[in-house]
């Protein structure tokens, strides 16, 4: 993970406001990280719409795969990018151009970072997170990652409410 720092409140706010995620680079190969993340986020109640030109039109984990963001007929709040840093720039620009689909957040995955594209997207009014995984951040903020010995950096003496699925997703 790079030296980028994001406040927990910012990350949590994004995860709480988001209902639908367009996942660019979602793979039907079930041992790929994108497949893990899609399945995990679905289990937490998010709708995840896969975007992958090579698999466009097929079904993936109960959703239709689209060739690009513009082809998605529904509204979505987050674009989660599983592509290299260079390609991520183009996708962020694409998202900014169609932000009336409800897009508020660009999220680039672990190891993916494109500072110029991030600045352009921010000028266009989008919030950008880079070099993080929403699955890992969700697990960290809500306690599941601690089960694997990860330092969640969370301290609290409050009694947690029992983990619920967010919605009946």
């Amino acid at each position: 993970m790079s030296d980028l720092e994001y406040d927990d409140e910012l990350i949590a706010g994004i995860l709480e406001r988001t209902e639908t995620i367009a996942m660019v680079g979602a793979s039907s190969n079930w041992v790929r990280p994108s497949h893990f993340a899609m399945k995990y986020l679905q289990s937490k109640g998010y709708r995840v719409i896969p975007v992958n030109p090579r698999e466009a039109g097929s079904q993936l984990l109960g959703e239709t795969v689209y060739a690009d963001l513009a082809a998605i007929p529904d509204q979505f709040q987050m674009v989660d990018i599983f592509r290299n840093s260079k390609a991520a720039g183009g996708i962020a620009d694409e998202a900014a151009a169609i932000k009336d689909k409800g897009i508020e957040f660009i999220w680039m995955q672990l190891g993916v970072r494109n500072d110029e594209a991030a600045s352009r997207a921010e000028v266009a009014g989008l919030n950008v997170i880079m070099d993080r995984c929403p699955k890992i951040e969700y697990g960290r903020l809500y306690g599941e990652l601690s089960w694997s010995g990860v330092n969640s950096r969370i301290i609290s003496a409050k009694r947690p409410r029992i983990m619920q699925r967010r919605r009946n997703g």
């Binding site: 041992v31 995984c133 010995g149 990860v150």
Partner: protein, 430 residues
């Protein structure tokens, strides 16, 4: 959504020693961490089970992999070392095994400082050899010796900054520089210092190992070990670490570094080495160790304060030839101690008796309050005469090379009233 706690930035060491990893139990509200004395965990359905086995979601399967009491210990030590993640093991030696099994392939090498706990020298030099791993031992007091021993097959550098048995301090920053130049991780056994006195990751080390048997559990009750990763090492460099960057056959070709990123090393150590060799820490021992850690800061302060008084007393005693404690003005390591261990250079050290072997045996047999045994880092003060016990099998030359000559006594200074410790040593020295 469940409640979140606050980010720990800004929380001090003492707060984290008490709270990190341990929120109240959500179902019952139990404030202390329950001892989850269970081997296994019920699945929600077949899909949930499959996802857990494939590592595609987080959760408990079987306590050879994860256990909720043990994971509190893991997160707590990761927090105290300012690391990204940790995996616990049955002992310090098991933690070392998990680390090297995850790093090395048969035929690989690593370089270790010779100023190590003797048991680590045996593990690295003899038992690891049978697995096809070669350890080159060097005199770490000159860090350049690490560089000289590196070959294309070298995959790691290993050292104790505050070395057991005490008195010697290795210049970690210089070793870190050498590790960076070679593109290999620097591993520090931080057992003797504990994270209260020294935090190797802050100086650029990549992995920290503890025998939690010592100061972390702190009361001589529980065996245990922990491996902590910084999350900052780039495992792709030089193609040296296929176990991190190549598909893992026992997980359908999953690649650990790509999938788990900055906690990929401990995840691999758990998912493969711990799963397949099985040296897990028991929930009971994890509970004892978590409880011990809650007072680590208080105990370490008193350990080093008492050690300083005892070392100064011995240095002034007419029957004592020398005292090797980095807190003494006379120590050649005093400057390095102030740099790396500003709160005190631990509480385990050696001293030499003018009377040699006979005098050594006499002292360990005559003390009343010091316990004659082979351990360190207990609330109780401990004493041993290595030449007649732990190093008895070695020749006199080997004993001297190992810092265990006939005149050497090792102390682990405990938390008793320091006047009582001095009186006991006084009557034993005669």
């Amino acid at each position: 959504m469940a409640d979140r706690g606050k980010h720990q930035t800004g929380f001090g060491f003492e707060t984290r020693a008490i709270h990190a990893g341990a929120r109240p139990e959500p179902v019952t509200g139990a404030r202390n961490t329950p001892i989850y004395q269970t081997s296994s965990y019920v699945f929600e359905d077949a899909e949930h089970a499959a996802d857990l086995f494939n590592l595609s979601r987080f959760g408990f399967i079987y306590s050879r992999l994860t256990n909720p009491t043990v994971s509190v210990l893991e997160e707590r030590v990761a927090s105290l070392e300012n690391g990204r993640a940790a995996v616990a093991a049955a002992s310090g030696h098991a933690a070392q095994f998990l680390t090297f099994f995850t790093l090395l392939e048969p035929g690989d090498e690593f370089v270790a400082s010779r100023n190590l706990y003797g048991g680590s020298m045996t593990q690295f030099g003899l038992s690891f050899k049978k697995l096809g791993w070669t350890c080159h031992f060097v005199d770490g007091t000159d860090p350049e010796n690490f560089r000289r021993a590196i070959t294309p097959k070298t995959k790691a550098l290993f050292l104790e900054v505050l070395a057991n048995p005490g008195g010697i301090i290795i210049d970690l920053e210089k070793v870190v520089e050498i590790g960076k130049d070679a593109g290999i991780p620097v591993i520090v056994d931080n057992t003797m210092a504990s994270p209260y006195l020294h935090q190797p990751l802050e100086w650029g080390a990549d992995i920290v190992i503890h025998s939690t048997t010592k100061y972390l559990s702190g009361h001589g009750t529980s065996m245990g070990g922990v491996v902590v990763e910084s999350g900052k090492f780039d495992w792709t460099q030089g193609g040296k670490f296929p176990s991190m960057t190549e598909p893992e056959p026992s997980y359908h070709g999953l690649t650990f570094y790509e999938t788990f990123g900055d906690f990929g090393f401990t995840t691999k150590a758990r998912a493969v080495a711990l799963r397949d060799f099985g040296p897990v820490q028991s929930p009971m021992n994890a509970f004892m160790t978590i409880t011990g850690i809650e007072t680590l800061h208080l105990r370490m302060e008193r350990h080093v304060a008492n050690a300083q008084v005892v070392a100064e007393y011995l240095e002034g005693h007419e029957k004592v030839a020398w005292v090797s404690y980095a807190g003494l003005q006379s120590s050649p390591y005093r400057e390095l101690a102030q740099k790396y261990l500003p709160k005190g250079p631990g509480a385990v050290f050696n001293f030499g008796l003018k009377g040699g072997y006979e005098a050594g045996v006499h002292v360990v047999e005559t003390v009343e309050l010091f316990s004659h045994l082979a351990n360190v880092g207990d609330t109780r003060s401990l004493i041993i005469h290595p030449a007649s016990t732990t190093h008895r099998q070695l020749s006199p030359e080997q004993q001297i090379a190992a810092g265990a000559g006939p005149d050497v006594i090792r102390l682990s200074v405990g938390l008793e009233s320091v006047e009582d410790l001095l009186r006991d040593l006084d009557q034993a020295l005669g």
